[in-house]
């Protein structure tokens, strides 16, 4: 019996202690007419050997494409030690550190993580993670609406140049609380977001994505000051790798961003089909009590010795119930473990090199592909490590051709951004080599010539 240690004699002894005639008798409070028979839709169990074979075959069936897609998930080198340590049983099979004395490992790590995210974003306080970048943005918006004392508006300005799935998640997660979104357009030439509050109703929050979904770097100082002048709180949505080299949101404009959030995946989480990743959220200390999610603090024990514990729990669902800042309970602790080890291992110089090597590789990729006939750069604005290319033909068939050649060529923008025509979003991180880039260019060239 997989994972069940009981011998027949154990069972007899235990039933004797309970005073029950059989295991089945333990279910005698369930009305008989509700009891289910055999599960028909679950097959017979497999041994570990058999499931290993099955999974290996399915993995091999999918193979591995040479990846040039970012669009919210980035393929970076992950030091081998990161997941070796992260999957140690002491991290892997522990739970939320409710018993602080028995969870100092996780708690201290979370405190270190909060420090690292505060440092990267230039903010005073950080929580201990949310589910992913998209839900972190949704939570940041709800937090801003609670925290904004300047107005009671429920309107949020989102850039049009936002990840389309993030925009959908924001709607799914915030609309029931009455929040409405309005779009700020982007400049067709530069790809930069235009400060534009079309109906002049004061927004409660303005979201600034740096870089934006097209990889373009925004004029964050001007946008931040403009947003504050509207009475809005500024939510920065950032790529954490980029913060090794880009101005931290805490210093944007005259007053800095109020809340910073984003997708933590680039910090040591594999692509893994979309998850688990983690969302991060940092903020000004003045609004920490509006934060969602776990927060760890440093304190002392009975002997005055340093220790760590979950704190400000009066914000949370298990204490505040219907009045909590969020319903979030389980978050993404294991991914935060990986990210903290990752950041310790790459350090400030390593992260800056990852960021700039990715920028340089994307530049090389754009140059190589732009040499192909009919291919051009989508925008003139400065950019981080992603770029929009305009193609002479519909994108989808070209991506299919590339996939047949073993290349994942990027994200087809034409569904979500029809105004861009045949547009493709590409990315080449530090993991791509010059020969990878050449292979992509040659293959696309062949497909375009056909």
């Amino acid at each position: 019996m997989p994972f069940i240690p009981h011998t027949d004699s154990d069972v007899r002894q235990m039933l004797g202690t309970i005073g029950a005639p059989s295991i089945d008798a333990l279910f005698d409070e369930i009305p008989a007419d509700l009891r289910c028979g055999k599960l028909r839709g679950v097959p017979e169990g497999l041994s570990e050997m058999e499931i290993t074979r099955l999974m290996s075959e399915r993995a091999a069936q999918d193979g591995r494409l040479l990846n040039f897609c970012g669009a919210g998930a980035y393929e970076h080198h992950i030091p081998a030690a990161v997941w070796e340590i992260t999957t140690r049983g002491e991290f892997y099979s522990a739970y939320t550190p409710y018993q602080a004395e028995a969870s100092q490992g996780t708690l201290q790590l979370l405190y270190e993580f909060q420090t690292m995210m505060s440092e990267l974003t230039g903010m005073e306080v950080s929580n201990a993670s949310l589910y992913d970048g998209a839900t972190a943005l949704a939570e940041a918006i709800l937090m801003a609406a609670r925290a904004n004392d300047a107005n009671n508006s429920l309107k949020v300005l989102l850039p049009r140049a936002l990840h389309p799935y993030y925009a959908e998640v924001v709607t799914s997660c915030t609309s029931a609380q009455g929040l409405v979104t309005q779009v700020m357009p982007f400049d067709a030439a530069t790809g930069r977001t235009k400060p534009d509050n079309a109906d002049s109703v004061a927004p409660t929050a303005v979201v600034i994505a740096q870089p934006n979904f097209f990889g373009v770097l925004e004029d964050v100082d001007a946008l931040t000051d403009w947003a504050h002048a509207q009475g809005a709180l500024v939510i920065a949505l950032v790529n954490p790798t980029s913060l090794a080299v880009l101005k931290p949101p805490g210093t944007w404009g005259a007053r800095g961003a109020d809340i910073v959030c984003g997708e933590g995946q680039p910090l040591g989480a594999p692509l893994a089909s979309g998850g688990p990743y983690f969302g991060f959220l940092t903020a000004r200390k003045a609004i920490v009590r509006q934060m969602p999610g776990r927060i760890v603090g440093r304190t002392v024990d009975l002997d005055g010795k340093q220790g760590f514990a979950l704190t400000l729990q009066a914000r949370e669902q298990h204490i505040r119930r219907a009045k909590a800042t969020s319903n979030i309970c389980t978050n993404q602790g294991l991914l935060v473990t990986a990210a903290t080890i990752y950041l310790s291992m790459v350090g400030p110089q390593g992260l800056a090199k990852v960021a700039t090597a990715s920028m340089a590789n994307t530049r090389k990729l754009v140059n190589a592909l732009s040499d192909l006939k009919g291919v051009g750069e989508g925008f003139t604005g400065p950019r981080f490590h992603e770029a929009v290319l305009s193609l002479p033909r519909p994108v989808a068939p070209l991506l299919r051709g590339l996939a047949e050649a073993g290349i994942f060529g990027g994200f087809d923008l034409s569904t979500h951004f029809p105004e861009l025509g045949h547009a493709l979003l590409v990315c080449a991180t530090e993991t791509r080599t010059d020969s990878d880039i050449r292979l992509y260019a040659e293959t696309l060239g062949r497909l375009l010539a056909a």
Partner: protein, 509 residues
């Protein structure tokens, strides 16, 4: 232990982990550049490895300790689940990779949907929610969408028993509902008369856990379903306690319209020090159109196949074969135009789903039935033995489900013994504490869930520890009040923690 930042020296680093190029900032406009580098640690690879390995050893975990944390189902997390979910092809797959190169992955998710559908008795399953609380959000959002689609926008209340997890009322609020509490009767069941008085045209639905957080099966569930349905409301099943009934009774058969499952509980994916979880949702036929996207379907449009037909999955002949006869695709807003939408950027906690899939295949049909059986055997055995020691069960006349509650109400009055004292002293004995002070309506309570994967010797040793604490409460109270004594820290000052906020390290000025 020192912080990683305190090990840092300027200029040190793990060179093998850096791209072999100099950082060139020239492509970044001056005004957008960072002026000062972030104060991340500058340590060697060995320093980092040693620091985090040492930190890990300060934790209690399932792999190192019995962890009877009620309502959390801390069962063994088979290592195969982790290893197979982390095969290089699965880890390297981009979330937006073409379906043509995702068939193996999609097959796993599709089959997981099908297996979960069967064990819950629901019409369809969506795997996207990333934890139980997000599953709750999805479930209540579907209830809301259902009412709104019928033009019924007057329903503003979600009913929640007073024993419910805090996530239930918090979820109702996030969806714009008012959470209305329904009291529990003396036997631990929902107070039916109070429920009857509370339902009406304002009732959108009720959120129930069954077995409840009190560790007992809600016997009149069919009656409750009838009352709520008659009032036009829907029933939401909080699957936190699904482990208790897996393969015994199905939420769909109890009359629930929507359910979430905590795959990190019942399907044994790791809790990871606080996640990631996965909160798959199952729905009845009438809520199917509102499911969160994406969902995995069969590419030929046969996703509505008859119940039980799992093709190659169920066939003994193809236990080793990949299902090459069928192809899968994502179903999105084009297939489900009334969907409540996306709840994550991509496909939820995909890697957690893969672990749950491997676990489900390892267990198989018979294994699923056994989960609840042995979870109940362990819980009832432990409760019988602790009762014999002298501890008071909160519901002594009821059968324990997969967990049970001890209340120290009497010992608090007589000896000033609290649930915290017992919890902290258990840590000295090498056991993680049970859940304490939840559910809120039982004073000085310990919610104990042993799970099915614990052996008899471990349970007996735990009883010995509890017996020792029971005796200590009468012989050496300071020992209990001062516990724990043997852990890296003693009891922490939570008040100071919240009042003198220290949420990040700062370098010495």
């Amino acid at each position: 232990m020192e912080l990683i930042f305190e090990l840092s020296s300027p200029g040190r680093g793990a060179a093998a982990q850096h791209p072999p190029v100099a950082a060139d900032l020239s492509a970044i406009p001056e005004a957008l550049r960072r002026k000062e580098p972030p104060r991340l640690p500058e340590v060697s690879e060995l320093q980092a490895v040693r620091h985090y390995t040492r930190l890990s050893r300060l934790n209690f975990s399932i792999d190192t300790q019995f962890y009877p944390l009620g309502s959390c189902t801390m069962k063994y997390n088979p290592r195969a689940c982790n290893k197979l979910a982390m095969l290089p092809e699965f880890l390297g797959r981009h979330p937006l990779a073409p379906e043509s190169h995702s068939q193996g992955y999609l097959a796993c998710l599709y089959e997981l949907q099908e297996m979960l559908r069967d064990v819950t008795g629901m019409a369809a399953v969506s795997l996207t929610p990333m934890a139980g609380a997000q599953g709750e959000f999805a479930g209540v959002a579907m209830i809301r969408a259902y009412h709104h689609a019928r033009g019924d926008t007057a329903r503003r209340e979600i009913l929640v028993p007073d024993a419910a997890h805090g996530t239930n009322p918090a979820t109702a609020t996030m969806l714009g509902y008012v959470a209305r509490e329904i009291p529990t009767d003396a036997q631990g069941d929902v107070d039916i008369e109070k429920l009857k008085a509370a339902v009406g045209p304002q009732t959108a639905g009720i959120m129930l856990t069954n077995p409840s957080t009190l560790g007992v099966f809600e016997r009149r569930i069919k009656e409750i379903a009838g009352i709520v349905h008659t009032a036009g409301g829907l029933l939401y099943y909080d699957g936190a306690n699904l482990n208790a009934i897996l393969g015994k009774v199905r939420p769909g058969d109890m009359g629930f319209d929507v359910i979430h499952m905590n795959l990190h509980k019942t399907f044994s994916t790791p809790h990871g020090g606080g996640g990631p979880g996965a909160g798959a949702v199952g729905v009845s036929e009438r809520l199917r159109p509102f499911m969160p996207i994406p969902v995995v379907g069969v590419a030929d449009g046969r996703e509505n196949r008859e119940k039980g037909d799992l093709g190659s999955l169920a066939s003994n002949d193809s236990r080793f074969s990949t299902p090459d006869s069928r192809s899968y695709r994502w179903l999105d807003e084009n297939d489900l135009p009334q969907s409540i939408g996306r709840l994550s950027a991509f496909m939820g906690n995909a890697g957690v789903l893969m672990r749950a899939y491997v676990y489900a295949r390892l267990l198989g049909r018979e294994g699923m039935h056994r989960v609840a059986e042995f979870a109940a055997l362990n819980a009832n055995y432990l409760s019988a033995r602790l009762k014999a020691v002298g501890f008071d069960l909160a519901y002594p006349t009821r059968r324990a489900s997969h967990e049970f509650i001890i209340t120290l109400k009497k010992q608090k009055q007589e000896l000033d013994l609290t649930a915290t004292d017992v919890a902290k002293r258990l840590l000295d004995h090498g056991y993680h504490a049970p859940t304490v002070y939840f559910p809120l309506l039982v004073p000085e309570c310990l919610l104990i869930e042993p799970t099915e994967t614990e052996d008899l010797q471990t349970l007996d040793a735990f009883v010995d520890a509890m017996t020792s604490i029971w005796n200590e409460a009468r012989s050496d109270m300071p020992k209990l009040k001062g516990a724990p004594w043997t852990l890296p820290v003693r009891r922490l000052d939570d008040v100071r923690c919240a009042r003198q906020l220290d949420l990040r390290w700062q370098p010495a000025p």
